[in-house]
């Protein structure tokens, strides 16, 4: 991806800091942090220019790498006193630019908060620092017969703090829920430097459910410095099925049929033909490359439960017109089924110079119609789209293939992405299922929410951070921005929601 594809039109400009102000800030932060925990040099800042949304790059004013809660508190107090904005960052794998830095703000990198503080097997919880990688929690819990259920595809790299901030999901979400369903408590530092405990070590806490509010708030309400996650007993057995279909509609209907039958699979994933081919070329999972769609369905639970359900699902898939249904005959084959799905993004990366990963959710019943519509849009824009998605949740991840070396293609890819998200809203869904809004989907937020709703969001943000210094410009668009977005669309004659107020 090109390094300087930054499109300023899409980004709010931060307040400029004078030289003297900058010197004063650096001196104040040096008094809080050891030498290696404050990065100022151009070279050192470069790795922090972007997160997983690499088309947008901007160097932060400086990077702070605190190691203790007290340091985080002091840094926030220092910045608050000077009116300097702060952006928290976990592992930087976010796909919506949530951790996109500010040229006149501090990037607070939580990577050094990397300790698992305690695993309490009797209470089935783990207390971890926010920089701990998602997979590391399960790795530490498995010897105790427990695991952490949410499993974003990025789980070897992404941090639990980032997962909380994005309310991350994964294959297991259909049965085991999102991050919000699998955490019990967070400790968070507010912009005024105060440490608060939200949630509890028990299943509920007195007062408002601020834990739900903070989860998915994209680093806008506070900096998370500790997370208590729930652990689940490792299921006795997991078994996977692979079903091939000659149309995506049939595969979509099969998803509905499985749910209607009363079986809730641990994972129910779908890939369309371009994705199947790309994955097969890459990992040789043995996928049927002629199929228009495949479903991967995993059942977990006790041995007896799995045996019962796997048979039921198998019959169902055949009744729904599957051209082939395979049951993994052993653990190695089960892992091979999943290897293709898990490698789908990089696999698509091999067949196209660039791809742009979208993330929207729709009611499952509209799967067929939405995919047909995406195909039409793909033809209209002249860009190929491969689809891999969490079919059980209706969470789509269309991968738009483009070449950033071809002038204008990135813009086209972004426009197509925006149209796909608006499509999701039109079909009763949302502009983001799990990747967050960040800077990426600010415009599409204007199609999902009206002025009063956006104003309400801003008021809630102000309840935590009245000066608006934490991650400003992300997640919730200003009304002004929506007005411009509306105008832009009128200009192209494609106003998606004429009924929406333009303000």
């Amino acid at each position: 991806m090109t390094a300087d594809a930054l499109r300023p039109a899409n980004l709010e400009e931060p307040r400029q800091l004078g030289e003297a102000e900058k010197r004063d800030l650096v001196a104040a932060l040096r008094a809080i942090l050891p030498g290696d925990a404050l990065l100022i040099d151009d070279e050192a800042l470069r790795p922090y220019e972007c997160d997983g949304l690499a088309a947008y790059r901007r160097k932060p004013l400086l990077v702070a790498l605190p190691e203790t809660v007290e340091q985080v508190q002091e840094i926030l107090r220092t910045c608050a006193a000077r009116d300097v904005p702060v952006v928290a960052r976990g592992a930087g794998t976010g796909l919506s630019g949530g951790a996109f830095p500010l040229s006149n703000g501090v990037l607070l990198v939580m990577a050094r908060f990397n300790k698992i503080l305690e695993i309490d097997a009797d209470n089935r919880v783990a207390q971890v620092q926010p920089g701990v990688r998602n997979l590391a929690i399960t790795e530490a819990a498995v010897p105790l017969g427990l695991y952490y259920a949410p499993d974003p595809s990025s789980q070897i790299a992404c941090s639990i703090g980032g997962n909380v901030a994005e309310n991350a999901g994964g294959v297991h979400c259909l049965k085991y829920g999102l991050t919000v369903h699998n955490i019990q408590q967070v400790k968070m530092v507010t912009m005024d430097g105060e440490l608060v405990t939200i949630g509890a070590q028990s299943l509920d806490a007195p007062g408002f459910d601020l834990l739900a509010l903070v989860t998915g708030s994209e680093g806008m309400l506070g900096v998370i410095v500790e997370v208590t996650v729930k652990l689940l007993p490792k299921p006795e057995r997991a078994q996977a099925l692979l079903a091939a279909f000659s149309t995506v509609e049939q595969a979509g209907d099969a998803v509905a049929a499985i749910i209607a039958s009363g079986v809730i699979p641990a994972g129910l994933e779908m890939m369309d033909n371009p994705a199947i081919r790309a994955a097969e070329d890459f990992v040789k999972a043995g996928y049927p490359v002629e199929a228009e769609a495949i479903l991967l369905c995993e059942i977990d639970g006790t041995d007896a439960e799995v045996s019962e359900d796997i048979m039921r699902v198998r019959e169902l898939l055949l009744a729904q017109g599957a051209t082939e249904v395979r049951t993994a005959k052993d653990e190695a084959e089960r892992l091979r089924f999943w290897a293709g799905r898990k490698a789908a993004f990089p696999a698509v990366g091999r067949i196209s110079p660039d791809y742009y990963c979208m993330d929207g959710t729709i009611p499952r019943k509209n799967l067929g119609a939405v995919l047909r519509h995406i195909n039409e849009l793909s033809d209209e824009f002249g860009l190929k789209v491969a689809n891999v998605f969490h079919a059980g949740d209706g969470n789509l991840h269309p991968l738009i293939l483009y070449d950033s070396a071809t002038p204008g293609e990135l813009d086209k890819a972004e426009d197509l992405g925006g149209r796909i998200l608006e499509l999701c809203v039109e079909y009763g869904g949302t502009v983001t299922g799990e990747h967050g809004v960040g800077i990426e989907k600010l415009n599409q937020m204007c199609s999902q929410f009206d002025a009063a709703e956006l104003t309400q969001f801003h008021a809630v943000k102000a309840a935590f951070d009245p000066a608006g210094l934490l991650n400003p410009g992300k997640a919730v668009p200003t009304l002004h921005r929506c007005a411009e977005f509306g105008a832009m669309h009128v200009h192209h004659g494609q106003l998606p929601h004429p009924e929406l107020p333009r303000f």
Partner: protein, 354 residues
């Protein structure tokens, strides 16, 4: 009563109330008036007639209804399609409404195994203090657009606004359920619950009434056979009736005279010996009859990382929810102010501060 849409009227009443500075007491079926503090407002905003199931598609696992829809109607609609509300909410009366269930945030025996009210909530249409009907969340399983103001309002006791419409995630009702009983004292029962919670068996509820431990398993025929074999114990013939009596607190234990406390603690918390107690949720919920001072109970709960609520047997004038640390209370006041700026809704219902 027929379905009807009172959105316009309710918005208008709230706007008028906000303008005149007259706070409102939101009322659904009135079955949970005993719970929480007394509302300091005298004007009642009756939302019980804003009712009707708006959409329910079993294959989507989502039901959307207006707040006044009686819980029994929701249950009946789901049962017809072999589905249920995963959190098994108590009704505490025939007139319980879906809005009241979500606002009170109370969950039944399945809570520790299937999540609480907020875990099943996908979206709400919230009438805020400015009289605006706002949509947050939606009808899809995954949605991270904007702040999660829908789950925030679960259990907020109506202090943030009127939940006009609610979309909840529903789940298939397992084909079979069976309950087995063990004669065990409190200590032994807690130990057994701890062990069971770490096993992969299909357990969906546990309870200890002082003398016996009850364990419920749900699932397919073979899964249940396997679970029964692994569990042992004596079969309880009236499984559904028993759990209903726990959920609705018609079980003999709940007939006590003293104030009834609900303690929410980490499940492995040892026996607390605060008074006669009934344990649920693998040990995470403990009902205790006690007339000890509130501080004693609060301290006992917080010493183990939990908290306590004065559930029944109070006059509604005392604090019933465990006091919050000052910074957290300040955030509560700010959040309340952000959504209900002039304090129109249910003043004092949750804490005397707002």
């Amino acid at each position: 009563m027929a379905d009807q849409d009172l959105t316009q009227e309710l918005c208008e009443r709230v706007r008028v109330a906000a303008k005149s500075g007259t706070p409102l007491c939101i009322r659904g079926g009135g079955t949970k008036d005993f719970y929480g503090r007394q509302c300091a407002a005298t004007d009642v905003l009756d939302v019980g007639s804003h009712r009707g199931i708006l959409s329910y598609e079993p294959t989507e696992l989502v039901l959307t209804a207006r707040c006044g829809t009686p819980l029994r109607e929701v249950r009946a609609a789901l049962a017809e399609k072999g589905q249920q509300l995963p959190f098994e909410p108590p009704a505490f009366g025939d007139e319980a409404t879906l809005g009241g269930v979500v606002a009170a945030g109370l969950a039944g025996p399945r809570r520790a195994f299937a999540g609480g009210v907020r875990d099943s909530l996908l979206g709400v249409r919230l009438l805020n203090g400015r009289g605006e009907a706002l949509q947050f969340g939606g009808q899809v399983m995954k949605n991270v657009a904007g702040y999660d103001l829908s789950r925030l309002s679960a259990g907020a006791m109506g202090t943030l606004g009127v939940l006009l419409e609610l979309s909840v995630k529903v789940l298939p009702k397992p084909a079979f359920e069976r309950t087995v009983v063990f004669a065990l004292d409190e200590e032994a029962a807690l130990e057994r619950m701890k062990a069971l919670a770490r096993s992969p068996l299909v357990i969906t509820a546990t309870a200890h009434d002082g003398e016996s431990l009850y364990v419920r398993a749900c699932g397919g025929e073979r899964a249940l056979e396997a679970a029964e074999q692994a569990l042992g114990g004596d079969p309880l013939p009236e499984s559904e009736t028993f759990w209903q009596s726990v959920r609705e607190q018609t079980h003999g234990f709940f007939a006590g005279e003293l104030p009834l406390w609900r303690l929410s603690v980490p499940p492995a918390t040892p026996a607390l010996h605060l008074g006669p107690s009934f344990i649920e949720w693998s040990g995470a919920q403990r009902w205790v009859f006690s007339d000890a001072p509130a501080e004693t109970i609060h301290t006992a709960a917080s010493a183990h990382g939990g908290h306590a609520t004065l559930f029944r047997g109070h006059d509604g004038a005392v604090e019933v929810f465990q006091p919050l640390p000052e910074k957290l209370m300040q955030i509560h006041r700010n959040v309340k102010q952000a959504i209900d700026p002039v304090g129109s809704f249910n003043p004092g219902r949750m804490y005397s501060e707002f």
